[in-house]
């Protein structure tokens, strides 16, 4: 029983990181209708920012996290402006390839700046771990912070989208770009804001990811990025609660299948579940069926 709880908590913790990353994918996809494959690498940039501020310069973690958010937000907006905006009218395939290009650009830039060796990341989240059931179950501080941040971000984002003008503009753009323009919404500005928010989330995900698994290299964000993308599809890409649920379910399935079925097959099982879900619900768990208007 205590082992099961440990597995479950680990799964939720891993899933929460996936979920925060997936939120970035899903927002950008929902509003700009593009897959921003560079998202995972923005996470890596966030990780390196904290590394430079906290480990190299020795400033307090709070400053590091704040700078990571600022750096990633600016980076996200710049990437959008330079690489994606000129392609707004191009086919989605061109944008996808550009995104992959940006991803490689960021990875290699990090390689040049920080070198190839893996950096060990100093944990910036100093929360004591929690011991339950007479010491049989230990929940690390990072895990609790991750789960909590995930919940807060979800609440914050939902409120932002439903209650603010910018949020409403995002919804409008996601539904119909052309009509939104006619209604006086600045589509370019809205998309830029979306990228800013998505990248700020990536910074937070970077901090959490690197605190939970403290190694940092130029490819740190790549694999979690792909897993989170899968989680976003799983939950229904474009749907914010979907990203959260998709992420957590993926994390839990991955960990439980590792624990009870086979550590060799866990990824295969995760993707098998994904296939089944997509067969039954092609738009993902929470995805909306969008009617094509003739």
């Amino acid at each position: 029983m205590s082992s099961f709880l440990t597995y479950l908590i680990n799964g939720i913790s891993l899933g929460s990181v996936y979920a925060i990353i997936a939120l970035g994918y899903t927002m950008v996809y929902g509003i700009a209708k593009m897959l921003n494959f560079a998202h995972g690498d923005v996470i890596m940039v966030g990780g390196y920012t904290v590394f430079v501020i906290c480990s190299t310069l020795g400033l307090p973690p709070f400053v590091g996290i704040l700078s990571a958010v600022v750096v990633c937000t600016v980076l996200g907006v710049v990437i959008e402006r330079v690489a994606y905006k000129p392609l707004r009218e191009a086919s989605s395939l061109s944008v996808l390839i550009t995104a992959i290009g940006v991803s490689y650009f960021l990875q290699n830039a990090a390689l040049i700046i920080f070198g190839a060796d893996t950096k060990s990341f100093q944990n910036v989240i100093n929360v004591p771990s929690l011991t339950l059931m007479d010491g049989q179950v230990t929940v690390s501080g990072v895990t609790m912070v991750t789960i909590l941040s995930c919940a807060l971000i979800l609440i914050g984002l939902t409120t932002f989208i439903n209650k603010t003008k910018t949020g409403q503009a995002m919804l409008a753009v996601s539904e119909d770009k052309g009509a939104a323009t006619l209604m006086g919404i600045n589509v370019n500005r809205t998309i830029a804001v979306t990228f800013a928010i998505g990248s700020a989330l990536a910074a937070i995900a970077g901090v959490l990811l690197c605190s939970a698994y403290p190694v940092l290299s130029s490819t740190t964000g790549a694999m979690p990025g792909i897993k989170a993308f899968t989680a976003a599809v799983f939950g229904g890409i474009g749907s914010i609660p979907g990203a959260l649920i998709g992420g957590i379910i993926m994390g839990v399935i991955e960990n439980l299948s590792k624990a009870y079925i086979s550590s060799q097959l866990s990824d295969a099982i995760v993707f098998a579940v994904l296939i089944v879900v997509l067969l039954v619900k092609p738009t993902g768990l929470m995805g909306k069926q969008i009617q094509e208007k003739v």
Binding site: Y7, A116, T118, S120, S217
Partner: protein, 404 residues
């Protein structure tokens, strides 16, 4: 006018080369000192580019295992500088060239071709196993003499032209199990291994075999893969529940650092035992080395060893590169001295082509015995595998301490 001079020079060079080649085959049978001397004079007269041995190497200088490639590159350079300062090999200077292969098979083949274009005659590579497996087909085809300092996959030495300085994966797995059993380190053993990596799973398979033969109990064998190599909590929890006293970690130090941290977070402190891939864990920047306290690893080289050879090597390496060498550097260093000895035994000269060099090397390799950094009396069997005694170290106070 200028053109003609170039043509003349080229023809002269060709003639000189053919002469030198004749001389080479003559003197090979009649190994008189005089013959050798005149031969070296001949080649020296041809021009400096012909008078050097070009030895190439490849390994990752970028990417996750960059530490290994860099160590091989630098370790060999230390050996080359020493050899050159002491008059070279058979009186010829040695040129060491190195290419980055990012530990990737495809890039390693490209790196190998680049090295050949630069005139490489013997190949010390590649550093990592996976890349090495891609290159051996090429070197076998070219009949290029190859010795890998640290490629551990068993099949690497299948082609007759390929030799190895380190222990193969099977040997590492077997030696680790023997060490654990013979020194009574633990009885109940758990294993975590990377099943997407031939190095890791190769060691695991042989470890499991030998552990059984030695009467060790393997209470659990958990795996991970290259897609999910950051979260080991589940695997650790399973081994903890199974009652493992020792966890065998046959994979690279980056992942191992995470395993150590996550075990610490769980409040679980079994013994940990690694192989050569663990080497470098103390050099991981910002890694809390107190987590690695008591970690044991099978490695042929400890920089704290007191013998003169090690001390000199460590001093030279530290002076040149500002860091303590790891075993990969020592393996590469020994490779260069094996080449030196074999080349001298076979009277190889730089003007021979790579295939001739390789054939000559193959005939003398079984006779080589080297007292190197990674073992005394290193010799090679008919499969190109090294014979030397295994060594283990334990990490104490943040440094390697040699075990017997």
């Amino acid at each position: 006018m200028k053109k003609r001079r170039v043509v003349c020079a080229a023809m002269a060079a060709v003639m000189a080369m053919s002469l030198a080649a004749c001389g080479g085959s003559d003197t090979a049978s009649a190994t008189t000192a005089a013959g050798e001397a005149s031969e070296s004079e001949e080649t020296a007269a041809e021009g400096s580019s012909e008078g050097v041995f070009v030895i190439g190497g490849s390994g990752p200088l970028t990417g996750g295992s960059a530490l290994y490639g860099t160590a091989v590159k630098n370790g060999a350079q230390v050996a080359v500088d020493e050899i050159n300062a002491n008059g070279g090999i058979n009186g010829y200077q040695v040129k060491w060239i190195f290419e980055d292969d990012e530990a990737d098979g495809e890039k390693a083949v490209n790196a190998y071709n680049t090295l050949k274009d630069e005139g490489m005659q013997m190949f010390v590579g590649t550093t990592t196993s996976g890349a090495c497996m891609s290159v051996i087909a090429e070197t076998e085809n070219d009949n290029m003499f190859q010795i890998t300092p640290s490629g551990t996959t068993a099949d690497i030495t299948k082609p007759a032209n390929v030799y190895r300085m380190c222990f193969s994966d099977p040997a590492q797995g077997t030696k680790s199990a023997q060490y654990i059993a013979e020194h009574g380190v633990a009885q109940k053993v758990g294993v975590i291994y990377d099943n997407s990596d031939t190095y890791s799973s190769g060691i695991y398979e042989n470890f499991a075999k030998e552990a059984q033969a030695q009467g060790l109990e393997i209470v659990g064998a958990e795996s991970f893969n290259s897609e999910s190599k950051t979260d080991f909590k589940t695997q650790l929890q399973k081994l903890k529940d199974a009652g493992a006293e020792l966890v065998f970690l046959p994979f690279y130090y980056t992942e191992a650092s995470l395993v150590l941290k996550q075990a610490d977070e769980m409040g679980w402190a079994p013994k940990f035992f690694g192989c050569d891939g663990m080497d470098g864990i103390l050099d991981l920047p910002e890694f809390d080395t107190s987590l690695a306290e008591g970690l044991m690893l099978l490695t042929p080289f400890a920089a704290d060893a007191q013998d003169e050879l090690t001390q000199n090597f460590v001093a030279a390496y530290e002076e040149a590169y500002g860091e303590t060498p790891i075993q990969f550097a020592a393996d590469a260093y020994d490779c260069l001295y094996v080449i030196k000895q074999a080349v001298e035994k076979a009277n190889i000269t730089p003007d021979m082509d790579m295939s001739e060099i390789c054939d000559a090397m193959k005939t003398v390799m079984p006779e080589v015995t080297l007292d190197g950094l990674t073992g005394a009396g290193i010799s090679f069997d008919e499969n190109g595998e090294p014979n030397k005694a295994p060594k283990a170290v334990v990490i104490e106070n943040g440094a390697y301490k040699s075990l017997e």
